[in-house]
């Protein structure tokens, strides 16, 4: 098992960092009080700084603009954001739980295919699916055109749902975010002991009542965790709601920042958004309750499966095919068609430049993220202490924080570094003033690390945890010193995890829009920025090439994940 999903990682992260296996300080490699706590504190402190800066704005005096906003648009922002969160939460729960139950517990034609195909929508960022559906469903789009051609109606003759709306945003986001619920629900159903379900059957409950009264309550923590992840992604979205002209907190941040030129007020909006995200986290905790839902026996028995026939099988197939089709096949197909017909006029060296910019950023961020994750993970293993536990938790804050918020925080920190810290240094040295951090690649990569370090950390930490301490000790008693042990035992065993961690960050950075938009250096464009700008100019057909490239790269971790799923079936486990 090498590939771990982002959902899996974040799910485990939600699963109480306190549950980290605390080993005694390993005398062989390091001792508490060495350099490890210092290193992890520095990393964690640096990464938490932007978020803490944003939160600090809550206690700062309000300016007149804020009072104006609070009276006029803030209620709109809040209700829209809340409605989006609730809608996406419910939608992903329905899609994710239903499909997970079907593919784990029922047998019907195509089940094996759906088991991994249901993950495909993960490769589709929210802003891309929003663009695709707008193109398909707008008045001049293929769907309405065909409808008119068939029926002979004209504009005023019929009603057609408006995709660019709050409902439309919930619809498209649920379609690409349900895999978070699906993944965790599927894992939960697989872990459930078949015996429990059989007990329910022998006590006279039918399959439906067993599902509702045994399987679903047992899976509740996983379902809540999955939905919480999906909702956090929805709250973090900027591209889709901006395009649909749905005013949420994240579009509000940018409007206030760039439209009204008030970073202070934008920061206060950002703080509200962070509070909302933390609200989701708290709900997730409460939803889990005090009960321990784990009932795992050493001997996993195969789950009883219901063989579906005729109509039931057909319905199951449709139920699984629908989210995959709507969440991946249709939008990806739309981009493919558009690209074939026209595509990006920049195709050629200029497009290559975009791609290589994106690649450079993603590789840089991925490499740094894995490196920092290694330091954090080893400090937790070698010098476990309240300090290292706290610092790793602090460094993990960013995973839940929307890119817009991080952008605000990073810019404030970078501005402070340039103006205050370096300004003093420059004037002391007699150098002209200048910007080193603000609007540079360094600031952008820093923002990516704040946002995505958690994903790589949990992956690295999980693979490090799987190296039992007795392996270290065996190597030592067989005459190998620390360097030789790290090289010959740890590296080979960690390699898969490190690659997975790098891949996750790489793909996330490729897709990232809001932070890139705000922080990127002048005239430095990435694929995501290109798509965003063309789409905002209503040039969707031209945006399709870059969109297709992003989706194609986004498929990599999905494929890795589906292979892991295929291998990790009970009974086909490695060691």
């Amino acid at each position: 098992m090498t590939a771990l999903s982002r959902a899996g990682d974040r799910g485990r992260l939600l699963d109480a960092r306190a549950g980290l296996r605390g080993w005694r300080g390993n005398v062989l490699l390091g001792r508490p009080g060495g350099l490890w706590p210092l290193a992890s504190t520095l990393i964690a402190g640096g990464l938490a700084l932007p978020i803490l800066t944003v939160l600090a704005s809550l206690v700062q005096p309000r300016d007149p603009l804020w009072d104006h906003l609070a009276r006029t648009v803030l209620p709109v922002y809040l209700t829209n954001t809340l409605a989006l969160a609730v809608g996406v939460g419910l939608g992903t729960l329905l899609l994710g739980t239903g499909t997970a139950w079907l593919v784990t517990m029922c047998r019907f034609p195509g089940r094996g295919l759906f088991e991994w195909a249901l993950l495909l929508p993960m490769a589709m960022p929210t802003y891309l699916i929003a663009y695709a559906y707008t193109d398909l469903l707008q008045f001049s789009g293929p769907v309405q055109s065909t409808l008119r051609a068939w029926t002979g109606w004209s504009r005023q003759d019929y009603w057609f749902p408006q995709i660019r709306s709050l409902g439309g945003a919930i619809f498209v986001m649920a379609l690409v975010l349900y895999p978070y619920v699906y993944l965790l629900a599927r894992a939960a159903f697989l872990q459930q002991s078949g015996c429990l379900l059989e007990v329910s059957r022998t006590l006279g409950r039918g399959p439906w009542r067993t599902f509702l009264t045994v399987a679903l309550p047992l899976a509740r923590p996983a379902l809540v965790a999955g939905a919480a992840l999906a909702v956090m992604e929805a709250l973090a979205d900027y591209g889709a709601v901006q395009y649909f002209a749905v005013d949420t907190l994240s579009t509000g941040i940018y409007r206030t920042w760039f439209g009204m030129n008030s970073l202070a007020t934008a920061t206060q909006l950002a703080a509200w958004l962070v509070l909302m995200v933390f609200g989701v986290l708290v709900l997730e905790r409460l939803g889990r309750g005090r009960a321990r839902y784990y009932y795992t026996t050493a001997a996993l028995r195969p789950l009883p499966t219901y063989a579906l026939r005729r109509l039931a099988a057909l319905l199951a197939m449709l139920g699984c095919a629908l989210p995959v089709t709507l969440g991946f096949v249709v939008p990806a197909g739309a981009f493919a068609m558009m690209t074939r017909r026209g595509g990006d006029p920049l195709w050629g060296p200029a497009f290559l430049q975009l791609a290589s910019n994106t690649f450079l950023l993603a590789v840089l961020a991925a490499a740094l993220a894995v490196l920092l994750a290694l330091v954090l993970a080893y400090s937790l293993r070698l010098a476990p202490s309240p300090v290292t536990h706290l610092t790793t938790r602090l460094a993990a804050l960013g995973y839940a924080v929307p890119g817009a918020v991080i952008a605000v925080g990073v810019l404030i920190v970078a501005g402070w570094l340039d103006n205050v810290a370096l300004g003093a240094l420059r004037s002391a040295l007699g150098l002209p003033p200048g910007l080193v951090f603000s609007g540079t690649l360094a600031a952008l990569v820093f923002a990516y690390l704040v946002r995505y370090l958690t994903g790589s950390f949990t992956t690295v930490e999980a693979s490090l945890t799987r190296i039992r301490p007795s392996l270290d000790e065996a190597a030592r008693t067989l005459g190998h010193g620390t360097p030789s042990m790290l090289w010959r035992v740890h590296l080979p065993l960690l390699r898969g995890g490190l690659l997975t961690a790098a891949l996750l960050v790489f793909v996330d950075v490729m897709k990232e829009l809001p932070a890139t938009l705000a922080i990127r250096p002048f005239n430095f464009d990435t694929l995501a920025i290109r798509v965003y700008r063309l789409a905002t100019d209503e040039r969707l057909a031209e945006a399709s090439t870059a969109a297709l490239a992003i989706v194609a790269v986004g498929l990599l971790p999905v494929l890795a994940l589906s292979m892991a799923i295929a291998r990790a079936r009970p009974g086909a486990r490695d060691t």
């Binding site: 039992r468 007795s470 065996a474 190597a475 008693t477 067989l478």
Partner: protein, 363 residues
């Protein structure tokens, strides 16, 4: 072989008559070894020595500090006090700490700790220097532990017993001067355990290696070791050869640690003691109030309608049966009988010891 049973003792009641007869350097010697985790003293002033080629078992309940003792000897933990000597050289004391990779102490871990990314042969060769002799040595070890031809397998493709032998071969490969085994059989199921135990004993004898192993299983300790040390709360209660330990335990706790044991209160006067069974002969003369040790196989049961005892319970095991006899005082004694011996519940019986009884002074 004649000196095999004479092992130096640095500590331990009951085995004072095992005085050293030879001044050969012990393979391993620990003195006043102490290690605490927080306020719990896992190992508390432990001292013992093992002579070359001998096998010592540390027997005790889980959490008694025996595994910590092994880890201190291997160099996987630093002692808080005391010292460890290997072949007379100090490897750990207040000033010295030789790291584990330079101690030449092999260890077989409870979970075997086989490297999952290496094949069986590479696992065994992990501690061997690269060179032409390496492959030969691996083949020889595979043959020695009965796994010839399986070198190309992955660890997870082996059964539990086979994994155990790979762990053993890997630890033996660099020819350690001392082998430590941490609960080596606890991960095996009961049916496999007895067989693997015999195999391991043969392999250790073949290799002529000095070994210390820890276990909570008294059968394992008694059948595998030349000497057994009973450990509780980080201290050795008694160490002696298995027969000695079983027949003449130094305290009631030791008696219970190494076998089934029931006790009756009594009063001793010289070679005789009076108890609920009447007058019984004593193994060693004592005076005053005593606790008398009765093992189930040391008692003879006779049907007697006027007997003082009543059969209160009976458990049938196949190869034998154990009946519990309740005495008028309320005390209960277990008696092991042949499977075909007549014994029915509530039957009146009389008990007597087969031979002299061990008595512990009561305080």
């Amino acid at each position: 072989m004649s000196t095999r049973w004479e092992v130096e003792t640095a500590r331990g009641a009951g085995s004072a008559h095992h005085a050293p007869t030879d001044t050969a350097t012990p393979a391993v010697q620990v003195e006043g070894l102490t290690k605490a985790y927080g306020r719990v003293r896992a190992v508390d002033g432990l001292s013992f020595a093992v002579r070359p080629g001998h096998i010592l078992a540390l027997l005790g309940p889980s959490g008694c500090g025996k595994t910590t003792a092994l880890r201190l000897i291997a160099g996987l933990e630093r002692p808080d006090a005391g010292r460890v000597l290997l072949d007379g050289q100090v490897v750990a004391d207040a000033r010295t700490f030789v790291p584990p990779e330079r101690r030449r102490v092999g260890m077989v871990f409870q979970d075997y700790a086989l490297f999952p990314h290496l094949r069986v042969a590479d696992n065994i060769g992990f501690g061997l220097p690269r060179g032409p002799a390496r492959a030969q040595r691996i083949e020889a070890l595979l043959a020695q532990v009965g796994l010839a031809g399986l070198g190309h397998r992955w660890p997870h493709e082996l059964s539990g017993g086979q994994q155990q032998r790979v762990a053993l071969a890997r630890a033996l490969a660099p020819q350690p001067r001392l082998l430590l085994l941490d609960e080596p059989f606890s991960n095996l199921d009961a049916a496999l355990r007895a067989r693997v135990r015999a195999e391991v004993r043969a392999i250790l004898r073949d290799a002529g290696v000095t070994a210390i192993f820890v276990t909570h299983d008294r059968d394992e300790a008694l059948s595998l070791a030349d000497e057994v040390a009973v450990v509780t709360a980080g201290r050795i209660l008694q160490r002696a050869a298995p027969e000695e330990l079983y027949r003449f335990p130094a305290s009631p706790a030791v008696a219970q640690a190494v076998g089934d044991a029931d006790f009756l209160e009594g009063v001793a006067a010289g070679d005789l003691a009076t108890c609920a069974l009447g007058r019984v002969p004593l193994a060693r003369p004592v005076e005053g109030p005593v606790m008398l040790l009765f093992r189930p196989e040391d008692l003879v049961l006779e049907a007697d309608a006027d007997g003082p005892g009543i059969i209160a319970a009976r458990e049938f095991y196949g190869h034998d049966q154990v009946v519990t006899v309740r005495l008028p005082t309320g005390a209960e004694l277990r008696v092991r009988l042949r499977p075909d011996a007549p014994a029915t519940l509530h039957q009146r019986v009389r008990l007597r010891p087969r031979g002299p009884v061990v008595a512990f002074p009561r305080t």
